[in-house]
């Protein structure tokens, strides 16, 4: 892709940066809320990986779909979710995306084609395949993106999904978010071939390894992959290499992550890069960018206020609701 000339309209660059920054702010603010006891359960921040969700989702059309992971807030926001409803959900409120039933690991917004986060690593792959398969059966051409992870790749569903997608030629993009760790276990410990995209090649599927911190590189590859899928030339596999800015979840200090490695990755922080692209390619002034950032921060505060002031779900209604399962 080096040397390729793609035009990036200012509008796109603004959108990309706004989303990068929104994820950054959302996660940072929610971690604070977690520490204050307002959020419970598992919470896996997307900090440091923002460019992947943002770059990929920018390449999609409204009718396309995504299937997300346990680390799903970034995908959600990049797909256009309402952060009010997200915040309310992870605080377990009635007004949240899932009425407080789902929490962080299960946020979905079917109206935006976001089939939801998933608490079972690897399980979203078949779901995404099915979504793409439905398009293929109907002859419509919605493209589905399955986000997965270096850990998810180790699960049998990865090969099964990519293989079947390849056999049928369904419009599926699989994006590996290779942040180099499954909790504290490194990729090196769990496979002999650490370039994970090569598994796609073994299955005859077009596969690339890309810089997951560079939102424009991600966008470029996703755009191409999307085009191929629309043309019936799918699936495509993208391995986006990145690094977490912290531990596995909010309660993991990540002491096993070498400090210098983290420092290196922070130098190519996806938000920093995104801001740089906006300034240099988009020719947006620092002042304008600051304005964008303030706006995002303000939206976040509104979301927090909304969520904090939202009611708890009613136990009676809940009991009524679940009677259908008896």
């Amino acid at each position: 892709m080096a040397g390729r000339k793609r035009k990036y309209p200012q509008k796109l660059l603004v959108e990309l940066y706004r989303n990068l920054y929104m994820i950054r702010v959302f996660e940072t603010r929610c971690i604070k809320l977690y520490r204050q006891g307002l959020i419970r359960g598992y919470f896996h921040p997307y900090l440091g990986e923002e460019a992947i969700a943002v770059g990929v989702c920018a390449a999609l059309r409204p009718k396309d779909r995504i299937a997300s992971t346990h680390r799903g807030h970034g995908h959600c926001i990049a797909r256009g979710a309402d952060i009010k409803l997200m915040a309310a959900e992870i605080m377990g409120r009635e007004t949240g995306y899932c009425g407080g039933r789902g929490g962080s690991m299960h946020i979905a917004d079917m109206s935006l084609g976001n089939l939801g986060a998933n608490g079972i690593v690897g399980a979203n792959m078949p779901l995404a395949l099915g979504s793409a398969l439905g398009s293929w059966v109907r002859g419509t051409n919605e493209v589905t993106v399955a986000f997965t992870s270096d850990g998810g790749v180790m699960n049998g569903t990865f090969c099964e999904t990519l293989n079947l997608a390849g056999a049928l030629g369904v419009p599926l993009i699989v994006v590996i978010e290779n942040n180099q760790y499954a909790v504290s276990t490194t990729v090196e410990e769990t496979t002999r071939e650490t370039e994970l995209y090569k598994r796609g090649i073994g299955l005859g599927v077009e596969s690339h390894r890309i810089d997951g911190n560079n939102v424009l590189e991600v966008y470029d590859y996703a755009k191409d992959a999307h085009k191929k899928c629309v043309q019936g030339k799918g699936p495509v596999l993208l391995e986006a290499v990145t690094y977490r800015h912290g531990g596995h979840h909010v309660n993991d200090p990540g002491l096993y992550m070498p400090k210098d490695r983290l420092e290196d990755y922070k130098k190519k922080d996806p938000c920093l890069l995104g801001r740089k692209f906006l300034a240099e390619i988009g020719a947006v002034t620092a002042q304008k960018i600051d304005e964008i950032e303030r706006k995002v921060e303000q939206q976040m505060e509104e979301a927090v206020e909304y969520a904090v002031n939202s009611p708890q779900p009613s136990v009676e209604e809940f009991l009524d609701d679940v009677r259908c399962y008896s």
């Binding site: 039933r101 979905a108 917004d109 079972i120 293929w136």
Partner: protein
């Protein structure tokens, strides 16, 4: 159970024009065919279902009519093609996924129990999962431990699934049509010994709602609850006992989830005796659960302990006489009935 009515249009009893007798497998095929014609979102996924028409010929000829996009032969990747069914269902399709033997469903439980069953709930009803998992269970052909199990209890225990186990061609067809139209994920368990059995099935379209038991034989002395391949066996036992003047009511729940507790409890209140027959192993089977409801709701009506006739707690052996020793036979049912009635005195 009022949701049932919402999900499943009421029975449209066939205006029995000319009754005809067809096989269970043909009844299932008709159901698939009719629903696929009616609704373009219905499609089939499974191993050997397209070109070969399925191991039991249930999908024979469907590839010809509907083409390779609606009748799809899959690789041996059960977890994933099942999950693909779930994903397709989430996004507007009505897939019917076939798992060749219920034994292999042990490979797909994450997609069924953690995904299909829970997605509607976890998303607070943003979506539903209108898929059918067709599978086949039971012993009786010398297929040994990994091809003979009766595993309905596992699905029965997972909230969010519906579960059908028809015993007759009539029920198979009517329930399959309802299953395909249901917005719940339905686990639909056929029995390998039933495919070739015959029964009357009207030409006219009909549906059978989930959650409605069927009294296959009315009687007054004792209630016998049985499903799937234990139904014909129980009916035979009832006939044998009728010759001695013992008048048995045979109730087939047909769907285990939702379960028509009312029909069962009403029957027991009338007969005051209950025998439940299940092919699955005794420990932790559905029979125990049904017994627990009847015990609760008809405690003062029961004249004798509920008898459970069930499979032995063992994997199924290959040798046919050993296999037979593991599964309830007519004689076991008759003995249980006698035991239950003997206590009365």
């Amino acid at each position: 159970m009022s949701e049932t009515a919402r999900e499943h249009p009421a029975v449209q009893k066939a205006s029995s024009g000319n009754p005809r007798s067809i096989m269970y497998r043909e009844a299932l095929r008709e159901a698939l065919l009719e629903e696929m014609r009616r609704d373009a979102s219905v499609f089939l996924l499974g191993e050997g279902i397209a070109r070969r028409g399925g191991s039991y010929k249930v999908t024979e000829g469907l590839l010809n009519e509907f083409g390779p996009k609606r009748v799809i032969d899959t690789p041996l990747a059960e977890a994933t093609f099942t999950g693909a069914g779930v994903g397709a269902a989430l996004t507007g399709m009505r897939p019917v996924v076939e798992i060749l033997f219920i034994d292999f469903s042990m490979l797909i439980l994450d997609q069924i129990a953690n995904q299909a069953a829970k997605l509607q709930f976890m998303t607070n009803k943003q979506c539903s999962v209108p898929m059918v998992l067709r599978t086949q269970g039971g012993a009786g052909n010398g297929l040994a431990a990994q091809h003979s199990q009766s595993l309905e209890a596992i699905f029965y225990h997972i909230p969010g699934l519906h579960l059908a186990m028809p015993a007759t061609p009539y029920d198979a067809k009517g329930l399959m049509k309802s299953a395909i139209r249901s917005d719940f994920p339905v686990v639909f368990i056929e029995h390998k010994l039933l495919y070739m059995t015959e029964g009357e099935v009207p030409e006219e379209e009909y549906l059978i709602p989930f959650g409605e038991a069927s009294i296959k034989r009315p009687g007054n002395d004792l209630t016998l609850v049985a499903w799937s391949n234990m139904l014909p066996r129980s009916l035979k036992a009832a006939e044998s006992l009728a010759e001695e003047g013992i008048d048995i009511e045979v109730v087939d729940p047909r769907t285990l989830v939702p379960l028509d507790k009312k029909t069962i409890v009403d029957s027991v209140r009338k007969t005051q005796h209950l025998v439940i027959v299940q092919e699955a192993v005794r420990r932790g089977g559905v029979a125990s659960d049904i017994a627990s409801y009847v015990h609760e709701e008809a405690f003062d009506y029961l004249d004798a302990p509920i008898e459970i006739v069930a499979g032995l707690n063992t994997p199924i052996p290959y040798n046919l006489s050993l296999e037979k020793a593991c599964i309830p036979q007519e004689v076991d049912i008759i003995e249980a009935v006698r035991r239950a009635l003997a206590r009365t005195v």
